[in-house]
């Protein structure tokens, strides 16, 4: 048995909600520790559109969620403007879409208090030239794009700055249960294979789709339904604004700009597995075929990457997964016989702050602390370590005016060596060990069209030169990194993407023969 860490609250799960709770509690002066079995945003927080909903998407299915989205969206634009690009959004319909829904849409928006402006079709096409020429309806709403990685990193960094602690690659092994209470959590560091114990007063599971599993460690049953959703990243940014399909939520109906790229999704596929999930070829084709009805260029555009996440939905019966509430579930397990255990799951990225607030309220109530939530007013600080997730960030700093000594290591996303160094030092500060995956999480490394073919090698040799790596760590990490990237690649390899991935395979298998000694 390794060391023991004592804290007031242990938050499990480093997604948007988990980091949000950590910050919220830290702001209230509560001592908090955060663990994640891999690293930040490993679940649905890192596998979504990055869309800050105006709420209009839910006006028909879930008016309450729609209103939550509206108010939280407005709030986030105030407190975290550096994570958000205020793009605005369109809702458009094409021939064949439900005309009754279209006709009803403005009224429903009004009912939820969501601003919505009908557009002349010509104007809409002028605003977004990529749109189909066959539009039959268009409305303007106030959607925005949000960078979920930056959001989590900044939330975490603020929490850490206020006395919080973060343990990545720390997997919950078991809860030690004593008299209707959790006495401690046994945690395994999957990198070092060390086990340690965390003792806290309150245990919060913010593990999204894994909420059921974590709860079961405490002997609590949460009936969950898993719905896999896949998204595609285009090679270029296709539109200025968010573009939604004006219909009941379905497949391939939202295109969100993400800095210099666009993201089109999603799908909804019922799944039982949580760990080995990939976007499938069928999903990719489905998204493209649906998406190109609204934006024809999606039919022949180069895609760089596909990814998928699992929507954690607490089962309440019903027909399809999309009709399940996407409003969040905050569960106090006192009723299940575990006093100091809370689960927060489901919900949307847009409402992460609200979820964190409600959860923290419950925690404080249990702890008997009566301090009010501050995240509503206190702006999320911007830190140096968080700036490298934003696509094109190095461009803004002057792509060709940066210091002579600063080498560009990742060509596609123009990540300079100085960025890698600052990320490495922030990981080190947190007593983590940098490898390609953890660096990629905190930067744009490997996220461009080459998907890590040569930037990986350049970054590795840079790390070796800096003495950050020794022995065969590099090549082992490279294998993990390439396989991780591959998850998002293999379903969309045709045309130029296939040419690009052949180059990657030529380098890493053809020459470096990485497959020969891989420890599969």
């Amino acid at each position: 048995m390794g060391k023991t860490i004592e804290t007031q609250v242990l938050v499990i799960g480093g997604g948007a909600t988990g980091t949000g709770i950590a910050r919220d509690l830290a702001l209230r002066g509560v001592k908090v520790a955060l663990i994640d079995k891999s690293d930040l945003n490993a679940g649905a927080s890192g596998a979504n559109h990055g869309l800050l909903h105006s709420g209009a998407r839910y006006v028909s299915s879930d008016a309450e969620a729609a209103m939550e989205c509206r108010s939280e969206g407005l709030l986030l634009k105030q407190i975290a403007p550096h994570c958000i690009e205020e793009t605005g959004g369109l809702f458009v319909a094409v021939p064949g879409d439900d005309e009754a829904y279209i006709a009803d849409f403005p009224r429903m928006c009004e009912a939820s208090g969501i601003p919505c402006r009908p557009l002349d079709l010509k104007d809409a096409m002028g605003m977004e030239p990529c749109l189909s020429q066959d539009l039959i309806a268009a409305f303007e709403v106030s959607d925005a794009a949000i960078d979920p990685f930056k959001l989590s990193i900044e939330n975490l960094n603020d929490a850490l700055g206020r006395g919080g602690e973060y343990y990545d690659h720390s997997c919950l092994e078991e809860f030690i249960l004593e008299h209707d209470k959790i006495a401690g959590a046994r945690v395994l560091n999957t990198k070092t294979r060390e086990t340690f114990l965390i003792k806290a007063d309150i245990y919060v599971s913010a593990t999204g789709a894994w909420a059921g599993r974590v709860a079961s460690c405490a002997g609590v049953n949460i009936p969950m339904v898993y719905s896999k959703g896949s998204l595609l990243v285009t090679g270029q940014r296709m539109a200025t604004r968010v573009i939604n399909r004006l219909r009941q939520a379905s497949d391939g109906d939202i295109l969100v700009p993400g800095g210099v790229v666009s993201i089109i999704g999603t799908t909804s596929v019922r799944t039982d597995s949580l760990d080995k999930i990939f976007p499938s070829v069928d999903e990719v084709d489905l998204i493209i075929n649906q998406g190109k009805q609204m934006i024809p260029a999606l039919g022949n555009r180069r895609y760089i990457r596909a990814y998928c996440g699992v929507r954690p939905l607490v089962s309440a019966g019903g027909d399809g997964d999309r009709s399940l509430s996407r409003g969040f579930s905050l569960l106090d397990h006192a009723g299940d016989g575990v006093d100091n255990f809370i689960t927060i799951t489901s919900g949307k990225l847009t409402t992460y702050r609200l979820m964190a607030e409600k959860t923290s309220d419950m925690v404080c109530e249990k702890l008997g602390i009566s301090s009010a939530c501050m995240t509503r007013d206190l702006a999320l600080p911007q830190t140096a370590g968080g700036k490298w997730t934003e696509p094109g960030v190095s461009l803004r700093q002057g792509a060709f005016s940066h210091k002579k000594e600063d080498h560009t290591l990742c060509e596609c996303e123009m990540v300079p060596a100085s960025a890698i160094d600052s990320i490495v030092s922030s990981i080190r500060k947190n007593s983590g060990k940098p490898d390609l995956l953890s660096i990629a999480l905190r930067s744009r490394l490997g996220k461009g069209p080459c998907q890590g073919s040569s930037c990986s090698v350049r970054v590795l040799s840079h790390l070796y030169d800096r003495g950050e790596m020794t022995g065969t760590e590099g090549v082992d990490g490279l294998r993990r990194f390439l396989n991780e990237r591959w998850k998002g690649e293999h379903a969309l390899l045709w045309g130029t993407s296939l040419a690009q991935s052949s180059l990657k395979e030529m380098i890493h298998c053809g020459l470096f023969s990485l497959e020969l000694e891989s420890g599969e």
Partner: protein
């Protein structure tokens, strides 16, 4: 006496005018060549051959256009003759005792010279009629210039016509005859004046009030009197082949003309016009009569000394320009004008603007920016300098204009780009308006398909001689420029050194395994960057202007 006073005044005007013109150049222009060293050198650095060939024989004009040359040659030859032999006859006869304006062959020669000048002027005028102008001359010119030119021609023509009229009217004028008789013979009614009159009526076309036909005339006496008093200075006027027919035509009105002394009117007219011409010479188009010889004597610049010798503007050369437009007709980059419509590309317009700039500096941001752009388009092929009938060393002029603009704060686009900070370059409000919107500028960099296939293999950068030899100064490799395009940062890319230093050697494009037209894209980006650079320059010039 009146005449002498008038002449003195006019000569004073002329002298003062010339001094003023040359002073004006020196005083008004801050950019005049004041360097003593170069002056001293230049005095010995004359181009004597150029002076003779170009001033006297107008050899360059001959090459440029035969008809134009003919017109000039006729005018110059005739005028020089008339000026020396006729206008200054007092001086001439002082040197050559045998000279008499009224005897052969001088009468004939004078008429011939007058005819030449007149013909030349007519040719000038004809050429100015729209139907005789060539295509390129329809290029707009400064308004005042055309007027000044025509006015000068008309004035000369008037001088010649009044001269002929004067001569014709004198031939038939009785009062004039009487004055001459009185002055040179002292004859009276008794001593055969009438005989002489009759003799002159018969042989010299004199027109008398009284009819002598009824009188008896002693022609022998008349002939001897004529021999004695007249013949030294007056041959029969018939060889004045223009004035005499004119006189014959005017005979029926002879008495009337005599009564009003129209010959004297013509006399004064002729003199006044002549004096006017003299007085206004420094300010009229005819100034080129003086400026061209000055310009022609300048030593021509040679290719080797082009960069070193770029002192200041040579303003004598500037004033020698007659705006004839030959330079623009042969201009190598005339198509640039056809496409862009920037008149400052054409030498004959450019030189006017340079003149103004020489006086006023960067007086008008827009015009100066256009001049900069036009002068940068020039390839220094030298065809304008070769043809320039005024013998202006135009290559030197363009180079020094370039130099001058740079020193005044209007650099070429390349210098502008390298001197512009990243922040300033990417300021949104400086984007040229038609950036990427016009169908003609929507090129490769606007089409995703043109660069989408780039796999960032860096072969372009590896094969690039600019990257290789300018490693420490260069900012982006070609592959990074392609990547900027993918990232939607076309405008940013247009400001990179890579784009502006590209040697256009096409190594990258030849090698690109994905068939991307890398060099073509770089070149296209540079053309777009030119617009931004121009825009930034213009706004800086405008600000400079408003600061003052």
């Amino acid at each position: 006496m009146t005449f002498f006073i008038l002449l003195s005044i006019v000569l004073f005007f002329l002298g003062a005018g010339l001094v003023y013109r040359f002073q004006d150049i020196a005083r008004k222009s801050r950019f005049f060549e004041k360097d003593q060293d170069t002056w001293a050198k230049k005095i010995f650095d004359l181009n004597i051959k150029g002076f003779f060939l170009n001033t006297l024989f107008q050899i360059k004009l001959f090459k440029a256009g035969k008809l134009r040359w003919l017109a000039h040659f006729l005018v110059i030859l005739g005028f020089v003759y008339l000026l020396i032999v006729h206008a200054m006859d007092g001086v001439t006869s002082g040197f050559f005792s045998w000279y008499q304006p009224g005897i052969a062959p001088f009468r004939f020669l004078r008429n011939l010279a007058g005819l030449g000048v007149g013909l030349g002027c007519v040719l000038f005028l004809l050429r100015r009629l729209p139907r005789f102008r060539t295509n390129r001359e329809r290029v707009k010119r400064k308004k005042g210039d055309r007027f000044r030119g025509t006015a000068s021609i008309l004035l000369i023509l008037a001088l010649i016509v009044s001269g002929f009229l004067l001569e014709a009217s004198r031939i038939i004028s009785e009062p004039r005859f009487d004055e001459m008789v009185e002055e040179y013979s002292g004859l009276d009614e008794d001593s055969g004046q009438m005989d002489l009159e009759a003799f002159w009526v018969k042989n010299y076309h004199l027109v008398l009030k009284e009819d002598l036909s009824s009188k008896s005339i002693d022609y022998e006496n008349a002939a001897s009197l004529n021999q004695e008093y007249c013949l030294d200075c007056h041959d029969r006027p018939d060889e004045a082949f223009i004035s005499t027919p004119l006189a014959l035509g005017a005979k029926p009105f002879g008495n009337w003309l005599a009564r009003f002394r129209v010959d004297n009117v013509f006399y004064w007219l002729h003199y006044v016009i002549g004096l006017l011409l003299l007085a206004f010479l420094p300010f009229s188009r005819m100034f080129h009569l003086i400026a061209i010889p000055v310009a022609s004597t300048r030593k021509r610049i040679r290719p080797q000394s082009l960069k070193k010798n770029m002192g200041l503007l040579d303003l004598f050369s500037l004033t020698a320009c007659t705006n004839c437009g030959f330079c623009s007709e042969v201009c190598n980059v005339y198509p640039n004008f056809q496409v862009t419509g920037n008149g400052e590309i054409l030498p004959h317009l450019k030189i006017e603007t340079v003149k103004t700039m020489a006086k006023k500096g960067l007086w008008d941001a827009r015009t100066v920016a256009r001049l900069r752009s036009g002068n940068d388009d020039c390839t220094r092929c030298g065809r304008c300098a070769d043809i320039c009938p005024s013998g202006i060393d135009l290559i030197r002029l363009w180079e020094s204009a370039d130099h001058l603009m740079t020193s005044l704060g209007c650099p070429d686009n390349y210098t502008q780009v390298l001197g512009t900070s990243f922040e300033q370059w990417t300021r949104q409000d400086l984007f040229p308006k038609d950036f990427g919107n016009s169908s003609l500028t929507s090129g490769l960099a606007d089409q995703v398909a043109a660069f989408e296939n780039c796999v960032q293999c860096t072969i372009c950068t590896n094969s690039c001689p600019v990257v290789a030899h300018d490693l420490n100064q260069n900012d982006l490799g070609p592959h990074q420029v392609m990547n900027l395009l993918r990232l939607g940062e076309k405008h940013m890319a247009t400001g990179s050194r890579m784009v502006w230093h590209c040697l256009t050697c096409y190594s990258c494009q030849e090698l690109c395994p994905q068939g991307i037209r890398v060099t073509d894209i770089l070149l296209e980006l540079r053309t777009q960057g030119q617009k931004t650079a121009g825009q930034i320059k213009l706004s800086q010039l405008t600000n400079q202007g408003s600061d003052k």
